[in-house]
Amino acid sequence: MYDTNYHKPSSVADAVSALSGAEDGKVLAGGQTLLPTMKQHLAAPSDLVDIRAIPGMVGVDDDGDALTIGAATTHAEVAADPTVNAKLPGLAKLAGGIGDPAVRHMGTIGGSVANNDPAADYPAAVLGLGATVITSKREIAADDFFEGMFTTALEDDEIITAIRFPLASKAAYAKFPNPASRYAMAGVFVAESGGSVRVAVTGAGADGVFRHEGMENALSGQFSESALDYTDVDAGDMLSDLHGDGAYRANLVKVMAKRAVAKAG
């Protein structure tokens, strides 16, 4: 790993100024992707700004209509949180299925969402639930946040502080993990709220997480597995690599969508 300067600010304002003052600064939120990337010399940030010591960055807040989860809340904390389990069990289960236990003890929701890995799980929940990404500058709707693999609407000196998830009457996630890496080859989050359905797909799309309009329309008509029988997933929009070609992934997306619907009940 190349040399770097570590900062541990105690406020969001200090974190932003450390980030904007750096030649090539990066936010360190859990490091479970960033540190391996740095070790492989695929990233060499001049400065790391660790946001985990900032008060208010960890925890779940329930205002009755939505759960707001602090950016530095670990996957293990979300998976075990009683409020998330009671109000959005599909989100708790998703968090409990990321990586492995040791990774879940360090990796955070803010880090995962900011990184927008095309095979990460959280982006599917953020987009599927129509969540709002709260940053040091503004609030960004999920539909405007994800801009293609590893690309988001975040500006260089902008830091995610929390994610606000509106409650849903039904919500669940199903994924098919790659047998070796355990990253999603296809992961589908479905959520139903007030008669409208959102379907977000991760792992499979050629350009990162995306919503599938055809499945959303079918499920809005009838929230059942069979409603998905006659929907089409375009193999041309899928990733195609040694782990699976586009047609294989397109089929997986449909199977995972059905499993998610079945889980959501």
Partner: protein, 165 residues
């Protein structure tokens, strides 16, 4: 360089380290605690698992500088006096290792698994152990004896926590 003070196996240590020092390197190179192994160095294998403030983490994927003030426990720190930890004893009794390279990580992950399940009052089944070992790779044993070791240790650790009540 940054000065950090960390409690390692119950003993406070203060060192000047460069900001890019991984916890695994800090333990092995600076403190000469070579029980923590580095297998893959890509966060996959779990040979480097240690406990930070009571939970299992991959020490090859944590910066030592970020852990100023933390409590770190390595495999060298789990025995009490001359007595092996029940998890260590169970790996010995059940032949839960062959080459032994993954064993420090397996033991630290195993203790973490049992602690978490017991704290939550959940039953630790064989299936649960196998799922929990997702991030710990053994290339020798086929896992059967590792799973048995953790099952045995869990039973003994449950007895210990009952006795302590």
């Amino acid at each position: 360089m940054t000065t950090i003070t960390v409690s390692v196996n119950g003993k406070a240590v203060t060192r000047d380290i460069s900001d890019n020092t991984l916890l695994s390197d800090f333990l092995r190179e600076d403190l000469r605690l070579t029980g923590t192994h580095v297998g893959c160095d890509t966060s996959q294998c779990g040979a480097c698992v240690v406990h930070v403030d009571g939970t299992a983490v991959k020490s090859c994927t944590a910066l030592a500088v970020s852990l100023d003030g933390a409590n770190v426990t390595t495999v060298e720190g789990v025995s009490t006096g001359g007595d092996l930890h029940p998890m260590q004893r169970a790996f010995n009794d059940n032949h839960g290792l062959q080459c032994g390279f993954c064993t420090p990580g397996m033991i630290m992950a195993g203790i973490d698994i049992v602690n978490r399940y017991q704290a939550e009052g959940k039953t630790l089944t064989e299936d649960a152990i196998r799922a929990e070992l997702e991030g710990n790779i053994c290339r020798c044993t086929g896992y059967h004896n590792i799973v048995r070791s953790i099952e045995d240790a869990a039973a003994e650790m449950a007895g210990m926590s009952k006795a302590a009540e």
